[in-house]
């Protein structure tokens, strides 16, 4: 048992590090990182960086070389991720396209479409979004209502999507629709990709509890999509969706925000009732709990990496990451604000202010516990797919979709 690389892994790590060192600044501390002045600036910087990655062969590493990838092994991707995390490099914007749209295009698009759409995803020239959730279909995502009607070889789309990250700056989107409302829920769906500049698409930002707007509502009014942009057979949209949902669950990692280290360092410097907070036994117990959770996740990840390093499929232990880290973040953030006593309530956006980090965590955690699969859905997945327990009894099984009650009544 050790934490060492194999000789091949060490060689790859060195190559990755040296390229990064020649092309990006090292982080000055664990919490140092790239930050853009605005969303627009960020997008520009990400595109420049992605182009550089692509030219040097570090883009979409597991993709076929023909589409701009590197045909890397899973362990090489992990090592690259570890090395990248040491540098201040632009990130975000591209994950949905490269992580979810790319794989689904690779599986279902024509050769011609793959040649047209995959390379610009790898170079970062084109941005994609995912149009799945709807106001009445969140956890029950197969319950979507956005209508698709075929006339000749053109589909007409009407309806509304929600929680679409990056819809306002995306070039294309992957879209799941209901093509047959008289079929049972999972049967009547059809999957497309769509040009986000198509007439009839309207994008409206959603104001979140934090005041920010990372997501959108996307309205479709008589939007035309050629049948050639259908992915998978008519009525097979659920099967196609699962490809991307599996990829989404793999992509969702640790909740970012204040963690044990921040809470520990806060407690060591902060007065609480006349002595340092770290000397308070209740504080120590909480810190110990968070340390154990953080450490458990860290070493679960190491177990995964070890499996990858041996060329094996990792065990299901990573399915716990988001539940544990999301809940931990919520507790740590609440602790941080509580320890600051009444001052914790005073809103500040000042970078580096102690409150600011915990206040972002306070808001962010509430969203993380929902995004990409709620705690409850993830527990269903663990119990069904990991432990092999039966699915819930469904009240909507076998019933035509248009007879199923849904949404808020």
């Amino acid at each position: 048992m050790d934490f060492n690389d194999t000789p091949e892994e060490a060689k790859f790590r060195k190559e990755a590090f040296e390229w990064l060192k020649a092309n990006a600044p090292l982080k000055e501390g664990p919490k140092d990182g790239w930050r853009a002045a605005s969303e627009e600036d960020g997008l520009k910087e990400v595109k420049v960086w992605q182009k550089k990655l692509h030219e040097a062969g570090w883009a979409c590493m597991h993709w076929p070389k023909a589409f701009g990838g590197r045909e890397s092994t899973p362990i090489e991707r992990v090592i690259w991720g570890q090395e990248v995390s040491k540098f201040k490099v632009p990130g975000g914007y591209l994950e949905i396209g490269q992580g979810m749209a790319g794989p689904v295009m690779m599986m279902y698009a024509t050769e011609e479409q793959k040649e047209r759409y995959l390379p610009p995803l790898a170079t970062g020239e084109e941005i994609w979004c995912q149009l799945f959730s709807e106001p009445a279909a969140g956890s029950d995502v197969a319950g979507i209502k956005t209508k698709a009607e075929l006339d000749g070889d053109t589909w007409t789309i009407n309806g509304q999507k929600v929680w679409t990250s990056g819809a306002h700056f995306s070039d294309y989107g992957i879209l799941v629709t209901r093509s047959d409302p008289s079929a049972p829920k999972h049967k009547g769906l059809t999957f497309f990709f769509v040009d986000m500049k198509s007439p009839g698409i309207e994008v409206k930002p959603i104001k979140q509890i934090s005041g920010g707007a990372n997501f959108n509502e996307v309205y479709f009014t008589d939007v035309k999509i050629p049948d050639s942009q259908r992915l998978g057979a008519i009525g097979d949209g659920w099967k196609v969706s699962l490809t991307t949902l599996m990829n989404e669950r793999l992509a969702v990692g640790d909740a970012s925000g204040p963690d044990f280290e921040e809470a520990f360092s806060l407690a060591r410097g902060q007065d609480l009732n006349g002595k340092l907070a770290i000397e308070n036994d209740a504080v120590r117990e909480k810190l110990a709990d968070w340390y154990c959770q953080q450490s458990g996740l860290k070493y679960a990840k190491y177990r995964n990496i070890s499996a990858l390093s041996r060329g094996e499929t990792p065990g299901p232990q990573s399915s716990i990451t988001k539940i544990v880290s999301g809940n931990k973040l919520q507790e740590v953030a609440n602790f941080g604000l509580d320890i600051l006593d009444s001052a914790g309530i005073i809103r500040t956006d000042e970078a580096g202010a102690e409150q600011s980090m915990y206040q972002y965590g306070f808001y962010g955690a509430a969203g993380i516990r929902i995004a990409g699969g709620t705690d409850e859905i993830l527990k269903n997945i663990i119990s069904e797919q990991v432990l092999g327990m039966p699915q819930d009894m469904r009240a909507d099984k076998g019933i035509p979709f248009n007879e199923i009650p849904s949404g808020n009544k």
Binding site: M1, E261, E285, S309, E376, M389, M393
Partner: protein
């Protein structure tokens, strides 16, 4: 990265598991619980024949000279099967105390017997209803003799010798007492888990020899043992999770398997989360123990806390999943619920280990 047990170690684990299943170790735990015997002598002799007690003892002292990773996988299986033997006292504590000592003649005198299982050792540490500390231990050493009373000494009634924490002037160290020495009084104590015997042991000017002279040696012994105890707790926790799942799958209510209710599924998912966190932390502990890493105090406390939490979660919710049947004497749920408490108490409480964890992080500042 190779943060996994090797194929050989996994095979050893499998052998241990199958052996303990074949020997119906859980059933034997019930027999000890209900009977007069302090432990299962037949199972103990088989465990020793398998060489489990000799695992981490060097070959020069009659051991197998394997490592702590091997001992960890065995511990997990002993925990899973509730093995009613003095393994933890004799191997994780008494053997370790002697191995960590500096006296070769003591090693030569004791280790071969511990390896073969002919000798059983016990660790006598607690004295009252508070955690033993460097300042509150009253058992004392003077001029080669030991005096004082220890309580809740696990396997204290069957031990051939004791490793005892006692003060010598201003310091607290570890002392070795032969069970046959003069001035020892042993009284069995009833406990919440009668499948493991406990006793109070009093010493009155009892001859002894010094193993280690410093409180830090006591803490180091506890850290080393904590990793092995954590593996037992992990095995027990996982057994409870498996039991709860199996029962839920076969139990029908409201016209359906209760395993199809989210209330039960989410309970099981919570158990799985606790077990996976504990397992990953236990691996960290195993790595630190087997490599003598400076992180051992942190790793030991982390896996001890995490595995104690997992066992607590799983053993109580296993009873809950079973409903009324889980509360009966007849079902095995209570055997795990008891053992969970016994292992949690054995080398100090959850609060103490949490405090140790934060203290070790403060010391090392290794964050």
């Amino acid at each position: 990265m190779n943060f996994e047990f090797s194929a050989d170690q996994m095979q050893l684990k499998d052998i241990a598991r199958k052996f303990l299943e074949k020997e119906e170790s859980v059933k034997r735990a019930r027999t000890v619980l209900e009977g007069e015997e302090s432990f299962d002598k037949d199972l103990w002799s088989q465990v020793t024949e398998m060489g489990f007690t000799a695992t981490a003892i060097p070959e020069e002292y009659g051991g197998l000279g394997l490592g702590y990773l091997e001992l960890c996988v065995i511990a997990e299986e002993l925990g899973r099967s509730l093995a009613p033997t003095p393994f933890s006292s004799s191997v994780y504590l008494a053997t370790e105390a002697i191995l960590q000592g500096n006296d070769d003649s003591v090693k030569e005198a004791f280790l071969p017997g511990l390896a073969s299982g002919d000798k059983i050792g016990a660790f006598a540490h607690s004295e009252s209803n508070t955690s033993p500390t460097e300042t509150n231990i009253s058992c004392s050493y003077k001029d080669g003799n030991l005096s004082g009373t220890k309580i809740a000494v696990v396997d204290g009634d069957i031990a051939d010798f004791y490793v005892v924490s006692a003060k010598n002037g201003s310091s607290v160290g570890l002392y070795l007492v032969e069970g046959s020495s003069s001035g020892i009084e042993v009284n069995q104590q009833p406990t919440l888990d009668p499948s493991r015997s406990h006793a109070s042991v009093s010493f009155d000017n009892t001859p002894c020899s010094e193993l280690k002279s410093d409180w830090s040696d006591v803490l180091n012994l506890l850290d080393r043992a904590a990793v092995l105890f954590a593996f037992e707790q992990l095995g027990g926790a996982e057994a409870c999770m498996d039991m709860a799942k199996e029962y839920a799958m076969g139990r029908y209510a409201f016209g359906r398997s209760i395993a199809s209710f989210q209330a039960i599924k989410h309970k099981l998912a919570d158990m799985y989360i606790a077990v996976e966190l504990a397992r990953s932390n236990c691996y960290y502990g195993a790595w630190a123990l087997s490599t003598d890493a400076p992180e051992l105090p942190t790793a030991a406390a982390t896996c001890r806390v995490s595995a104690s939490q997992a066992y607590h979660e799983c053993s109580k919710e296993n009873i809950q999943t079973h409903g009324g049947m889980g509360f009966t004497w007849e079902f095995d749920c209570h055997l795990y619920y008891r053992r969970c408490r016994q292992l949690a108490a054995n080398i100090g409480s959850q609060s103490i280990w949490k405090d140790k964890l934060i203290s070790s992080l403060e010391r090392a500042n290794q964050i």
